[in-house]
């Protein structure tokens, strides 16, 4: 079966980790993940400037590794991203900011990408909250 997984919670919130565990279990179960969509505060997961304390689980790194290993389509809402200081090199140049902060493996795009993927997949599962 084909899944779309949408995340709404920031990287420090439990549901960001729960979404990763769900995604891992979905692939391990032989299913496909058509798209990951990072919306609202979940865009922080794709921020390459976040630094975790050494004795804490680095969830953004775990997501990056997971996306890279499985070559997943990871879309970050561009409107949610820009207002939280998350820019790719093109946006950094456009708005005259000193650095791109979007981690590799992610792309900035619009909410339409969530809608399109949800229409094509068998299931949309959303993760947010505590």
């Amino acid at each position: 079966m084909q899944f779309v997984i949408a995340l709404f919670a920031a990287s420090h919130q439990p549901s960001a980790r729960r979404a990763l565990r769900f995604a891992e279990a979905a692939l391990a179960g032989g299913h496909q993940i058509n798209r990951l969509f990072f919306y609202q505060d979940a865009v922080s997961i794709a921020n390459n400037s976040q630094v975790q304390a050494q004795d804490e689980f680095d969830l953004p790194a775990a997501w990056r590794e997971f996306i890279e290993r499985h070559q997943l389509d990871a879309v970050v809402c561009i409107a949610a991203a820009l207002r939280r200081g998350l820019l790719d090199s093109q946006e950094a140049q456009r708005y005259g900011r000193p650095a791109a902060t979007l981690a590799s493996g992610y792309c900035l795009s619009g909410l339409g990408q969530l809608h399109e993927a949800a229409q094509q997949a068998d299931r949309l599962v959303c993760f947010g909250g505590d």
Binding site: F22, E24, R123
Partner: protein, 100 residues
């Protein structure tokens, strides 16, 4: 069309569980994860409400969240699930609704 409702916030912090209970239809499922599993605390009003749900509404909770909070006194109707079972549940129901 059956719906799996996914709750992750504590019933002692907001009204999501109360709202969700009013919306549940026969054939639907309710999955508690994160702080929402505190609804299973013995002798509290949310637990009583869950135990009084119609039989046709299935009740699930995520194992790791029960373990993390030391909750082991479960209602008889509760089905405890791990992540592979969570994935299977989203396929058993026609759609899922996360109470964000």
């Amino acid at each position: 069309m059956t719906t799996l409702h996914i709750l992750s916030t504590s019933p002692f912090a907001d009204q999501r569980l109360a709202s969700c209970l009013r919306l549940l239809s026969p054939g639907d499922g309710l999955l508690l994860c994160g702080d929402a599993v505190y609804a299973l605390n013995p002798d509290c009003a949310p637990r009583q409400a869950l135990e009084l749900m119609p039989e046709q509404i299935a009740l699930y909770a995520l194992q790791e969240d029960l373990d993390a909070r030391g909750l082991h006194d479960w209602p008889a109707r509760l089905q405890v699930v791990d992540y592979p079972a969570f994935v299977a549940l989203t396929l058993d129901y026609a759609r899922s609704n996360s109470w964000l």
